[in-house]
């Protein structure tokens, strides 16, 4: 381990979740960007960012690599009523499109993102398709 997960998590008032297949650092959203900043300074680079709709909450999940073979998952949980979190764009410029996609598909607002607009869907599209509450036409008919 090149990064001491416990220490990093503790420093950002989070915890380490080792139940899954990969270790995950779960932090409150207030320290989301600080966590990324600290990891970035330790030489960690990012791989992916996405969201998972858990019904009442939306998890923002980022995958980062501490070394070529070492995978860490970063998580923060946002309540449905307030889907805002700090953007990681200032830390990793490549987060630009990933955060736009998360905004497009889940409606999560990333504070500090330079150009938060829809990326895959067209501008007039209503709703956030990857939310569980967004039903496909076939489902609407069935229900």
């Amino acid at each position: 381990m090149t990064v001491d997960l416990e220490a990093v998590a503790a420093a950002h008032s989070g915890r380490v979740d080792r139940e899954g297949l990969d270790p995950a650092i779960v932090v409150p959203r207030e320290t989301w960007r600080q966590l990324a900043q600290a990891l970035s300074e330790a030489g960690v680079w990012f791989s992916d960012l996405t969201c998972v709709d858990r019904g009442e909450t939306v998890e923002v999940v980022a995958q980062v690599c501490a070394s070529a073979s070492e995978q860490i998952t970063l998580k923060t949980v946002l309540p449905n009523r307030d889907l805002t979190v700090d953007s990681l764009w200032p830390v990793w410029p490549g987060m630009d499109w990933l955060e736009r996609e998360a905004y497009d598909m889940f409606g999560v607002s990333f504070v500090g993102h330079p150009d938060l607009t829809r990326i895959l869907m067209f501008d007039g599209f209503e709703g956030y398709p990857l939310r569980k509450s967004f039903l496909l036409e076939t489902e609407e008919k069935a229900s």
């Binding site: 895959l120 869907m121 067209f122 599209f125 398709p129 967004f134 496909l136």
Partner: protein
């Protein structure tokens, strides 16, 4: 009254010119490839040395829709892309034809129920030839092209507005193979 009756009556000069024009058109169907998805690869393979659609005079894929005759839709039409396809179609000069290539372009295919898809090309454009497959084999597209060619050659100018679509069968009937193989068999370089 008289004019219309005269137009209906076969006239030697007019019919000769008409036959000539139809011959010319059928041998020179140039593509407008609005290449979108998987099927455009098989379309590209059709331009390659093995299939070589240039042998029947359709080898030119014009970049500008103004100079093309056949609009090929080789993939799904998403809601975001549909207006652009319509625009490209409108930019093409008459007479023009549309080939829907693959199940996505025919009906939406594997993505039919998605929130971002139209249910097939015929919801936005008048389609002349439906070539099924996912993805379409080059032979199937070749067959569709041959059918379109025969149609173009047989359609008088007067009947252009009224066209029945051509449905290429999804299975391989023996005559299907024979017809395409006859074209493809003559040059087995690779």
């Amino acid at each position: 009254m008289g004019l219309i009756e005269n137009a209906e009556r076969p006239n030697f000069i007019l019919t000769t010119i008409d036959t000539l024009l139809r011959w010319g058109r059928s041998h020179s169907l140039w593509w407008c490839n609005a290449g979108s998805a998987c099927c455009s690869l098989e379309f590209a393979a059709m331009g390659g040395a093995r299939y070589d659609m240039d042998r029947i005079g359709s080898g030119l894929v014009r970049a500008s829709p103004r100079q093309s005759d056949v609009l090929l839709i080789p993939g799904p039409i998403t809601k975001k892309m549909a207006p652009i396809f319509v625009r490209v179609y409108n930019q093409m000069p008459d007479p023009k034809w549309v080939i829907a290539m693959g199940s996505c372009a025919i009906s939406g295919g594997a993505f039919r129920e998605s929130y971002s898809m139209t249910r097939g090309a015929d919801t936005v454009l008048p389609v002349d030839v439906y070539v099924p497959g996912c993805p379409v084999r080059p032979e199937a597209l070749f067959y569709g092209l041959l059918k379109l060619r025969a149609r173009v050659r047989g359609t008088s100018n007067i009947g252009l507005a009224h066209r029945e679509p051509i449905y290429v069968p999804p299975d391989l009937p023996p005559e299907w193979e024979a017809e395409v193989r006859e074209f493809l068999g003559e040059h087995e370089a690779c």
